[in-house]
Amino acid sequence: DQQVKQNSPSLSVQEGRISILNCDYTNSMFDYFLWYKKYPAEGPTFLISISSIKDKNEDGRFTVFLNKSAKHLSLHIVPSQPGDSAVYFCAATPRGGANNLFFGTGTRLTVIP
């Protein structure tokens, strides 16, 4: 049962434009949400996170939005750069001290120069 879903396997965007990656979740106990970026043959690297008490978190070109009522979050990358081409994973963890991090299936972003 996939508790974190990324319904778009791939996304192509022109350099300089905005990239929007979407993620939906089903577990209302999820309290903390993260985005990881993964290049081929490497491990995932942390990108940005958001707590459930916030609805927006910004870090440079990256902004994550959380809509708790819709159980939906999105990652905005502005402006997109060719180096952003990678697979992006959405992940979530429940409150209560558990260490389980539930990952989505990933979205492959290609930024076209």
Partner: protein, 115 residues
């Protein structure tokens, strides 16, 4: 500062063989994790540890064992390899629990093929 290192990078096993995937971190992190990633899927937690001597099951622990005798090392043991264990295995560590905002740092992964 090497971060999280994993060995080997790639291994082919025959059904029924056993092996240990090694993971070492040099960041003095208490929390360590093992994930597997099957093709087209997200990472799934196999086991985790909150400190030396303490381990617990994750989402998909069957067929695996772990131990944590030191802060630095967290090996993953496959006793009787099965084709269903063909996957890419990632080790990660964090200073604090993820549920408290701790960032997990991942190793480069071990690709395992069971034939």
């Amino acid at each position: 500062n090497a971060g999280v290192t994993q060995t080997p990078k790639f291994r082919i096993l025959k059904i029924g063989q056993s092996m240990t995937l090694q993971c070492t971190q040099d960041m003095n992190h208490n929390y360590m994790y093992w994930y597997r990633q099957d093709p087209g899927m997200g990472l799934k937690l196999i086991y985790y540890s909150v400190g030396a001597g303490i381990t617990d099951k994750g989402e998909v622990p069957n067929g695996y064992n772990v131990s944590r005798s030191t802060t630095e090392d967290f090996p993953l043991r496959l006793e009787l390899a099965a084709p269903s264990q063909t996957s890419v295995y990632f080790c990660a560590s964090s200073l604090t629990p993820t549920s408290s905002g701790g960032t997990q740092y991942f190793g480069p992964g071990t690709r395992l093929l069971v034939l």
